[in-house]
Amino acid sequence: MTTAGSTAVKDAGMYKRSTRPAPPPRNNFERAAWMYMRYSGLVLVFLALSHWGLQHIFNSVQDLTLQSTVNRWGVTGQVANFQIWFWRAYYGLLLGLAMLHGLNGLRQVAYDYMHFRPLYWGFMGLSTLLIIAVSVAGIAALLLGVNIAAAGGAVVR
């Protein structure tokens, strides 16, 4: 067989296949969880660090009183003003994102080390319940405000 060297046959699309669509994968949960960890993490940098800065740097835990909470949350029964709505949104978002992020993080760790399936599911079930319960309580308190009546008048408006 004699073939002359390099008679180029570059017709259009000869090597085409540059961007093929990958199929939508069947199991999307792990993928979604993975992406959530990254994106929520990026948002949390701002929320969590600003919260930390506010509570621990500009103010000190040492100066923390019920009053400072009232200043942001308002008190039970009070009609929320713009400021209170702002803090509700800020804390609500922080709480939700962080809890979900933490819960999924915990799931990853548990998945790594708990190979006995019932143990894994049991542990994650309990953890999920606990985290949901605490989160719901937290959000409820955020919306309902500081229960000034139960504070025995310690808080000055």
Binding site: V9, M14, Y15, R17, S18, T19, R20, P21, A22, P23, P24, P25, R26, N27, N28, E30, R31, A33, W34, M35, Y111, D112, Y113, H115
Partner: protein, 235 residues
């Protein structure tokens, strides 16, 4: 020069658990660690066991933990391995120990097979070669260098934790085909890799990249597979 070798020994027919064997040998500083092991085997204790074949970093037989870190014994020179006149050699982690430096490689190869490490293309190829541009060839070049030595997979903390994790080596193999313009099996491979024990187990630790004796950018390739799954595009 004089070299003090500390080798983790274990004989399943005799020992309850591994112990350290210590050997003093004479070696050239430009010798390979493998040569030192051979010297021990041929002149001190023939019962020392380890895998080896090519002796120049091309067959992938002799992955072991040298001074705590994975390496091919035949690709690490004595002068680079001695610390205070001594070298420690242990089997790789995460695979069942059989004898001395020999571990069971079967789980490793099972993961390899799981990602369909072969070209899938059911079109009639014709009489001549399928055409591929130089750029397309370069796109997947890195992964083709892999010699399946398992240095990467057995250095990965996620793999130590879960032997079910397919591991970096298998992902590198999958990458080699997913990004080959001649291949059409990407969909099926990604189905495997999107599972919980697929790419998501990779926590970007970089141990794999740091030990690959073929200088493959393992973590980068894993990242590209993750991106393929995230964006649904292969380019």
């Amino acid at each position: 020069m004089k070299v003090h070798l500390k080798i983790k020994r274990f004989n399943p027919e005799k020992d309850k658990k591994p112990y350290w064997g210590e050997y003093d040998i004479e070696a050239d500083e430009s010798d390979r660690v493998l040569d030192a092991l051979q010297t021990v085997k041929w002149t001190i204790d023939g019962a020392l066991n380890f895998r080896r074949s090519c002796a120049h970093g091309i067959c992938g037989s002799d992955a072991m933990r040298i001074n705590g870190r994975n390496a091919l014994a035949c690709k690490l020179l004595i002068r680079d391995a001695v610390h205070n006149g001594a070298i420690t050699v242990e089997p790789i982690l995460g695979l069942p120990l059989i004898k001395d430096l020999i571990v069971d490689m079967e789980p490793f190869f099972a993961h390899y097979r799981a990602v369909m490490p072969f070209l899938v293309n059911n079109n009639e190829p014709g009489e001549r070669e399928r055409l591929q541009s130089q750029e397309q060839r370069a796109r997947y070049d890195d992964g083709t260098k892999c010699i399946l030595c398992a240095c990467c997979t057995t250095s990965c903390p996620s793999f130590w934790a879960r032997g079910e994790y397919v591991g970096p080596a298998a992902i590198v193999q999958a990458h080699r085909f997913i990004f080959d313009s001649r291949d059409e099996g990407a969909a099926d491979r990604l189905e495997v890799l999107v599972e919980p024990d697929g790419v998501w187990r990779c926590r970007t630790v970089f141990n794999c990249t740091e030990v690959c004796p073929r200088d493959i950018q393992v973590t980068k390739l894993i990242g590209e597979v993750k991106q393929a799954l995230v964006t649904g595009k292969i380019d």
